[in-house]
Amino acid sequence: MNRHFAAPPSMTGLYLRAATKRGALGDGQTIPRLEATLDKCRADPADLAAYRQVCGFLPGDHLPATWPHVLAAPLHLALLTDAAFPLRPLGIVHTRNRITVHQPLPVDAELGVRCWVEGHRQHRLGVEFDLETEVGLDAQTAWSSTTTILARTATGRPAGPKPKREDPPPGQAAGLARSTVWRLGGDQGRRYAKVSGDYNPIHLYPWTARPLGFPRPIVHGMWSLARCVAEIEEDLAPAGWTVSVAFRKPVLLPTPVLFTAGHDGDTRTFALRTRDARKVHLEGEVRPG
């Protein structure tokens, strides 16, 4: 199945469908290849400025590395709510992400977006699948991303007990280039929802998050990633690198979080932790290529 869009599909209708859609993988069943494309789109300067402000990106001539995800979000939702997609979208969890910036994307460039999903992997808590995204500029792939999602409601069987982690020693490792505390307000999820269009109820209010299993709203994984990349953006080349991130533990709002960044040769590492550094919310790295 391949769906073409001339303009981004309306998120409102897609959210309604997501809220009501049911589904699960049957034995021997997998996710079929589903594809969606958006032929031409541009970043709206006002939207982009608001996005930069919320995520901490500096003004510049190129799109922030995480911005194309906002462009692709309606397509992602269109795929996940497609009748042929066998899983229930509500309750899925974003666990990892990998973004490659092949070439810088000028802020006024006309871009094409292509997304697809196909197949799955078993996970201890359900099934995992990848949502692939490519952004084209002048018929070349300029940006690509793999979003890994865990569907906890699927028919996946536990593949073993949760691995035990040892308590880390107090303090943090030496040799970091940055270590700073960010204070995230209770409205952080709503602020990002406004600029990204991702109004998933788990990010908005305690009363919308609670029915979905969270005592308080949680911050968007993509905001966390964007904010981390924004903090180190000046250390990165305009293109030619891949950022990979694993989301370990949701960030319940409001809260202070500790951002740390360092480097190991050509690889830049970063993490978001609890303020005392004892628990990890997110870990990531940026590698050339």
Binding site: R52, Q53, V54, G56, L58, D167, P169, P170, G171, Q172, A173, A174, L176, A177, R178, S179, T180, V181, R183, E231, E234, P256, L258, F259, T260, A261, R273, R275, D276, A277, R278
Partner: protein, 598 residues
């Protein structure tokens, strides 16, 4: 004429006797004590938890030149100032000047070259200006100041009243304090000026260090003191308007306290830029750590705190240099000659390690303890009981704050009548006394890191405090006590202003003042004094006022001179989360703040 200072390194303890703090983090489940490293740091301050860096003799000698800086003869004309340069200057100046632990009494408005020209014209019209106001400043720091107000000054409102009359005299004194800014005891008013003097001294060094010796500061204080302030009222109103001082701020006591013109000079000081950064990082460390007395530690302190590192003495020549620095500062800020400075600045030295010194210290402690007893005994019950005896508890806590510990204790002060006879404004003399104490302390602190061997935190350091003086002042004002300096200067009607204690060959406390100030969750936590730049510094640009390092929703997280890497760690080199900070975006830091007129 200020005298140059000489480098007098302090002999290090023999290797077997060296002791470092060996700070550790509390382990999971372990109850934290004041001897553990903090769990995290969440602050916009440029300071953080820093450690002292060893200086070579050459670096130390360069640092000492900063303690006898001349006034700039003139400026060559405005030079472009980057945002980063001004941040570093602010970090060494207003953001780290010594103040009492729970008092935020300074703000600065920084003017660009064009506004600086206007300010220079206004300064030139002021009566009592200490030196010529130069044209061609690159920027001008206008420091605003307010009266000293803390929980301690609230407590003072209730002290020294008669039993029944207190129902009327307490509110009366409270109202006078709030609306007329009249203090309960004179030394509270002096605190404001001591702090300003210390800041003035620090601003001179900050301008030099932040520019690697290419810029100097021309600092003015006299026109903002005593009667001169009244006589300059008209011009000051124009200056206040230029820096946007509102009527609301004036009503709570904010006034212009001093003005520092900063500009490039024809003959830059011969300083190595790399040495400047190392010295600067050390200056932040001096303001970050609390040093321990090395003697009389509490029993629960870890073993390193209990160890004496051989002889705890320091060379007499160092004491001479510290005195020279104090007289340099007094002379510099009052404009009197050296002999007059030596005559006017009163200093008593108590050598605690000698029998006579021990006796004198005991005498001082007994006197201060007696004042505390009287304060508690006479506290109006109608105020104390409804607050759960909060005032009494506050007074009790003072006993610890006023405790004096160290190898040498200095008491500094002035004689009001002698200052008047010398034709000096009293407030200016008080400021000069503060500057003298701080500069003298800096000699000890710099020598305390000169050729600092591995395994030692410091070879000497200074605690500067006004608490004992304030307590003594309560005794003088209400209970018939004599001044702390009366014994040393019986015929000169002295007023003690500051006490500083020298501590040698000891360890640095991992949770110094900084932790006390920054961690509100800590029991007995005080107000966060180490403010971020956006809280204390405002830049006047394009006719508007903008806070320093607050932009697009971000505030400063950078620790100044972080490239020097002097961050507190445990023995395994693990760091305090959040302590290292995160640098301000380079694209913003490299911006030139004001166009330089051609």
């Amino acid at each position: 004429m200020q005298k140059p200072l000489e480098c007098v390194p302090i002999p290090a303890p023999v290797p077997a006797e060296r002791v470092g703090r060996a700070a550790t983090f509390a382990q999971p489940g372990e109850r934290r004590s004041r001897y553990d490293l903090p769990e995290y740091l969440d602050s916009a301050s440029p300071v953080g938890f820093r450690t002292r860096l060893s200086l070579t003799r050459d670096q130390a000698t360069q640092a000492l030149t900063l303690l006898s800086l001349p006034r700039p003869p003139g400026f060559t004309g405005p030079v472009p100032i980057t945002e980063q340069a001004l941040f570093e200057e602010s970090s060494l100046g207003i953001l780290t000047a010594r103040q009492s632990t729970n008092f935020r009494g300074h703000r600065a408005v920084v003017l660009g070259p064009e506004d600086s020209e206007q300010a220079a014209v206004l300064l030139g019209q002021l009566e009592g200006l200490e030196a010529r106001a130069h044209r061609g400043a690159s920027h001008t720091q206008v420091v605003l100041t307010r009266p000293y107000r803390t929980p301690f000054t609230l407590l003072l409102t209730f002290i020294g009243h008669k039993p029944v009359a207190s129902l009327a005299t307490v509110p009366l004194r409270g109202l006078r304090k709030r609306f007329q800014h009249i203090d309960d005891i004179p030394t509270i008013n002096y605190l404001q000026h001591l702090h300003l003097g210390i800041l003035a001294d620090q601003l001179e060094r900050a301008a030099v260090l932040a520019s690697g010796g290419t810029r100097l500061a021309q600092v003015f204080q006299a026109p903002f003191c005593d009667g001169l302030r009244d006589r300059n009222r008209g011009v000051l109103a124009q200056l206040e308007e230029l820096v946007g001082l509102t009527q609301a701020a004036r009503s709570v006591g904010w006034r212009i306290g001093l003005v520092a013109q900063v500009g490039a000079v024809e003959q830059p000081l011969a300083l190595d830029p790399a040495a400047c950064r190392r010295i600067a990082a050390n200056l932040l460390a001096f303001r970050s750590e609390r040093i321990q007395p090395g003697v009389n530690q509490e029993d629960k302190a870890p073993p390193p705190y209990q160890s004496r590192q051989g002889s705890m003495g320091v060379p007499d020549a160092l004491v001479d240099q510290a005195g020279r620095a104090a007289f340099n500062a007094f002379e510099h800020w009052t404009g009197v000659d050296r002999d007059t400075a030596k005559r006017l600045l009163l200093m008593e030295r108590v050598d605690v390690l000698t029998p006579g010194g021990k006796e004198r210290l005991r005498e001082i402690r007994t006197g201060l303890g007696d004042v505390t007893d009287r304060v508690i005994q006479n506290m109006p019950l109608w105020a104390d009981l409804p607050t759960g005896k909060a005032f009494t508890r506050n007074a009790q806590r003072g006993r610890k704050a006023f405790a004096l510990a160290g190898q040498r204790i200095y008491i500094g002060g002035l004689s009001a009548s002698e200052i008047r006879d010398a034709g000096l404004p009293w407030e200016l003399a008080v400021r000069a006394c503060g500057a003298g104490a701080a500069r003298s302390a800096l000699v000890a602190e710099l020598m305390g890191v000169t050729e600092l061997p591995d395994g030692c935190d410091l070879l000497a350091g200074i605690c500067l405090m006004a608490g004992p003086v304030n307590q003594n002042d309560i005794g003088k004002s209400f209970f018939g006590h004599v001044d702390l300096l009366s014994k040393a200067f019986p015929d000169r009607n002295p007023t003690s202003l500051l006490v500083w204690t020298l501590k040698a060959k000891t360890v640095a406390d991992p949770i110094g003042n900084e932790e006390q100030l920054l961690n509100k969750a800590r029991k007995g936590a005080l107000v966060d004094l180490r403010c971020g730049p956006h809280e204390a510094v405002t830049l006047r640009r394009d006719g508007g006022l903008t806070p320093q390092r607050s932009r697009d929703g971000r505030v400063n997280a950078e620790r100044a001179f972080a490239d020097q890497g002097n961050f507190v760690t445990d023995a395994q080199h693990r760091e305090i989360p959040g302590n290292r900070g995160s640098s301000w975006p380079r694209v913003w830091a490299d911006e030139v703040l004001w166009e330089v007129p051609s």
